[in-house]
Every structure is written in C-alpha cells, then in structure tokens.
C-alpha cells in the first residue's frame, strides 16, 4: 500500500468445487462441458416432491480438505436453506450450512515472498451446492439457463480477517489452492470457476484496533486478480477516508478487463437470505472412525514436502519450493532421482528447473503430459555420469528427446554425439588451435586470462561441441604454460 499510515484488514471466502463424479444431492454427472441441461434430474431441477440424498464422496473430500487445514471436524452438522431468487437456482434456495458447519477452526500457512510463514486462521469450512449457469448474451430470446452445474458440491472456506495486505492474500490463496490440488479434491481452475474467491476488505489507521467499514468484492477469477482487486479497493477506501468521506458497506464487482471495482446495482436487501434448517435433510453425522480413515489417506502436504526435500536431498530452500509447487513436479523429481542412481539430486533439480520447466512453459503443457518421463530423463543422466556425453551436449539430446520417442542413447548414436575423450586426438586439435592463433597466444601469455575461453571455444567448434571439456582444459593449460 502506498500510504504507510494505513493497513488493510482482509478476510477471504473461497468456494472450491469438489471433484466428485456426481452432484451433492442427486446422482447426476458433474462432468464439465456436456450439452446444456443433459445432466439434470427432478432433484437438481427442484421439482416438487423430489428429495435430496447426500453424496458420501463429497463429504469425504470436504473432510479431507478440513483435516489438511488442521480444522476440527464436527461430529454432527446440519444443512440449511439459503433463500434467494435467481434463474439459475431453480429451487429458490441453495442447500448450504449455516449455524452448524461440518468444520470449524484450522489455518492456512501462507508462505510470504521472504520465505516466512504467516498463519491465517480459518473460521469455518462448510459444504454446499453450486448454482447453474446463466448465459446473458448467447440468444436474443432472453437469458439462457444451463443447470448442468446446479447441485455440484462446493466447500466454502472462510478465513478470519487475519490478512493485512494484497500480497498476503495472494500467498494465502496460493497455498490454499496448492493444498487442494495436492489433496486432489478440486482442480483449482479459477478461470473456469472451479475455485472462486470473494474478499471482505476494510482499512484502518495503523495501530488502531477497531475495524473500518468493509466492502465485499466479488468476481475475483484469478489468483493475481485477487491481489490486484484488493490493492485497488484498499487504495480506493483510503482516498475516500483521507478526503473526509465515508466508506459505504456494499458489494462490489471486480472488472478484470478494466482493472476497477464497480458497484452491484441490486444491493437492496441482498443479504437477507432467511436461513433455516433444511427439513428435507437429517443431520450429517461424521463418526470418528470415518475421520480416521480419511486421515490415513492424506498425502504429504506441500509445506512438509518442501522441508523434506531440503533435508533428504540437500536442496536449497528455493529449489525445494519450486519443485514442490505442484505434486506432479515433485513426483517427477523424486522419480527421476530414484531412477538416475548416483546422480546428485541438486543436478536433477537444476535440470528440471531450467530445462524441463522451460519446455513445459513453451509448450504450455502440464508435466503429466510431458513426453520425457523420469525413466527417459534418468538415462540421459546416466550418459552424463558415464562421460559418454558432456552436459552441454546433453541439452541437445534433451531437445531431441522432447521431439521424438527415441531414447537418449539412440539419439546420441544417431547424431554421433558421443563425447571425444581420447587424449591423443584432442591433443592434436589443441596444438592446431594454438598454432593457428599466435596473436591470442601472445595475449594470453601477457596475462590476459580471458583469452583461455577463446581456445576452449575453438576446440569445441572443431569437434561440434563433442570434446570432453575437462580434458580440453587440462591439455590447453599444459600446452600454454
């Protein structure tokens, strides 16, 4: 924040779509992208007489997330109806949890840019169902409604107002999303709406205890968008207050195209949802044996894995953090280290961070879609370790591997890239280079150390980069001394 007398007080509400096969209260498919209204039934259409039956897997996934955040899972919780009218909500209410959510407390350990961890507490996590989709512009006839998404399970994760800046909000959301992805309970795609975030924002003079009047900003559809929207809104509130005005308690929409917030017109009585317990549903009981079963399936979480990478593989914290960003990259690293026996883990780490991740970026693919699997990469390391190829040539081989299905060995053979380590033939080349460059030899001998690289380069050029760099160095030193 530009003004250092002020601080922001931020609480986030995150909706995460659970990756179940079927909906929360009916067995319609949750598959994304099917024909409009092909995954609907009397229950999710809200037809009279249809009754909801809860999806066991939705509860399991929700509990998994709650446990990962160290929350307390309630043995008994109840469902409530949240009443409001909107065309994509056919029942006229959303089934949610209000007074007794299934999970309370817990925290997210957000990793700030300087590497310190800030713990942001959670108020609650509750289970609810999603609404359908309204499409306002596809037909002249009116607003088109697709209810395929209607009834898809969501968890809502509500933080305490512990967040003090947009950067902290970013760090919170990053860790939250990362954890949900590690757990495999949500695909984390903010652009497609499987992860959505609303922010409650107020500002206050530093050192004061009371909260200022807050606004709620909705429509935050990327992790960076959340950071930008919070910065914008906090700055707006500060300038309103500094010019003697007052902040109105209202709901705002983030406009990502124009990078501004705008007022929602229909704010009138917007929050009068008249919650009451849903008479169609009995209490949800989560026995401790069930919780124990779920606990046993929790994977190693990002923070723990990062620490283990430092300890077990002797990696710098920076490497460990980059490699554990996603479970898939972390798995790829560990698998490669295991297969490329005798290779320094740091070497594998360097290779993945500079080569593999760059290729993924260029091709815009996930590591799981990457052609060069750990077993193929491990062979490449073996060739380096054995001295068959140099590190530099290995990059060439690797490039070739991303384009073909050939093994590293086949490529080395086919392109004749085997490293030249034969001292006799290298010595001849070294002598030739020295003979052909008397001027540089003069310079080198008069103390210009830098010229040494020139000789190395010349030998490499003569061998198309295949000369063993260590031997070339040794031979050159000897010949020039």
């Amino acid at each position: 924040m530009s003004d250092h007398n002020w601080e922001a007080v931020i609480g986030l509400e995150v909706h995460a779509q659970l990756k179940t096969r079927t909906k929360t209260f009916c067995r319609c498919s949750t598959h994304f992208g099917d024909d409009p209204n092909s995954n609907v039934c009397p229950v999710c259409l809200g037809l009279p007489g249809a009754l909801p039956v809860l999806n066991r897997e939705a509860v399991t996934m929700a509990v998994k997330a709650a446990l990962a955040f160290g929350a307390t899972v309630q043995q008994q919780s109840i469902f409530a109806r949240k009443n409001y009218f909107y065309p994509d909500l056919p029942k006229g209410y959303q089934i949610s949890q209000y007074e007794k959510p299934f999970s309370t407390g817990g925290a997210v350990d957000a990793r700030l840019e300087d590497g310190t961890i800030k713990q942001i507490r959670l108020i609650r996590v509750h289970l609810e169902e999603d609404a359908g989709k309204s499409l306002h512009t596809i037909t002249e006839a009116g607003t088109a409604v697709d209810l395929n998404r209607c009834g898809t399970p969501l968890i809502e994760i509500v933080s305490e107002p512990d967040i003090r800046s947009a950067t902290e909000a970013y760090a919170f959301l990053y860790r939250l999303r990362q954890t949900l992805l590690y757990l495999g309970v949500c695909d984390g795609n903010m652009e497609e709406g499987s992860l959505r975030c609303d922010a409650n924002i107020s500002v206050r003079k530093k050192g004061t205890k009371e909260f200022g009047t807050r606004t709620e900003v909705k429509n935050l559809n990327s992790v960076r968008g959340v950071e930008r929207a919070i910065n914008f809104e906090a700055e707006r509130q500060i300038s309103v207050l500094e010019s003697g005005g007052q902040v109105d308690q209202e709901t705002l929409l983030w406009d990502a195209d124009r990078q501004v917030v705008r007022s929602m017109r229909s704010k009138e009585e917007a929050n009068d949802y008249r919650y009451f317990p849903d008479p169609d549903l009995l209490p949800l009981v989560i026995e401790s044996v069930w919780i124990d079963d779920i606990l046993a399936t929790l994977p190693e979480l990002p923070e723990a894995r990062e620490k283990r990478f430092v300890k077990q593989y002797g990696l710098p914290e920076y490497d460990a953090n980059v490699l554990t960003a996603t479970k898939e990259v972390a798995d790829y690293f560990e698998e490669t280290v295991k297969l490329a026996r005798g290779t320094e883990p740091k070497k594998v780490s360097n290779w993945i961070m500079s080569e593999v991740l760059a290729v993924l970026g260029d091709k815009n693919i996930e590591i799981t879609e990457f052609e060069v699997k750990p077993d193929r990469l491990a062979v490449l390391f073996e060739l380096i370790n054995k001295g068959t190829i140099s590190g530099k040539i290995a990059k060439k081989v690797f490039d070739e591997m991303t384009r073909t299905e050939a093994t590293a060995e086949e490529i080395v053979e086919k392109l004749g890239l085997v490293q030249i380590s034969d001292e006799g033939s290298l010595k001849a080349l070294v002598d030739k280079v020295i003979e052909n460059n008397p001027k540089q030899v003069e310079e080198y001998k008069s103390g210009k150390e830098k010229v040494f690289g020139y000789f190395v380069g010349q030998v490499m050029r003569e061998t198309s980069g295949k000369a063993n760099p260590q031997i070339v160095n040794d031979l050159l030193r000897k010949a020039l001394s």
Binding site: T20, R21, T22, R27, C28, S29, D35, P36, N37, S38, N39, V40, C41, P42, L45, L47, V53, L54, N55, R56, E57, A58, V59, Q76, F79, N83, F85, Y86, P87, S134, L135, H136, I138, T139, A141, G142, T143, A144, V145, D146, L147, R265, E269, D272, R274, L281, L282, P283, L284, V285
Partner: protein, 95 residues
C-alpha cells in the same frame, strides 16, 4: 409478538409478491393469528430437551458417488414456459 404491516411488506418483497392494501391487511392479520397460535407452544417446558430430540440417533443417509443419469432433457425442459435448443430461457437478466 406481533408482525407489523412493514414486516409483511418486506417479506412479500423478498418472496417477490405484490400485495395491495387489502391483501397486506389480511396477511398481517393471518400471520399474527398464526404466530399467536404458535406462541402457545412456548408454554411447554423444553429446557432439557435437545432441539433435535425427535431425530435422536437418526442421520442423513449417504449414497455412493456413482452416476445414474435421468437423461431426459426434453422432459426437463417440458415444464418450462420458454426454451430454446436445450436451454431454459428466462427474461433477460440485466446486470
């Protein structure tokens, strides 16, 4: 406990109902009668009864996450006043 005309108007608005003077009058009277009747229940002592005692030992049943499609789009759209393709169509919602 009494419900005022204003409260009735507010509830009507939330339910997207338009009540004229005479209807508001009648609704206010009816709702007050209903509340007065329910008020009688307050005479029963319930200090030691849990709010869900009638559900004691009961819990919501759970189903496995196995797809079972209804698969009848035209039936789903059949009751809609307006449809186009396989979409429900409602009056344009203006943001």
């Amino acid at each position: 406990m009494a419900v005022s005309r204003e409260e009735v108007q507010k509830i009507a608005h939330l339910a997207r109902l338009e009540l004229d003077e005479e209807e508001t009058e009648r609704m206010t009277r009816d709702m007050n009668d209903i509340l007065a009747y329910v008020e009688k229940l307050n005479e029963v002592h319930t200090e030691n009864v849990s709010p869900h005692s009638f559900l004691e030992g009961k819990q919501t049943p759970l189903l496995l996450d196995k797809v079972s499609q209804f698969g009848n789009v035209s039936a789903a759209l059949g009751n809609a006043p307006k449809a186009e393709g396989s979409f429900f169509i409602v009056p344009k919602v203006i943001e």
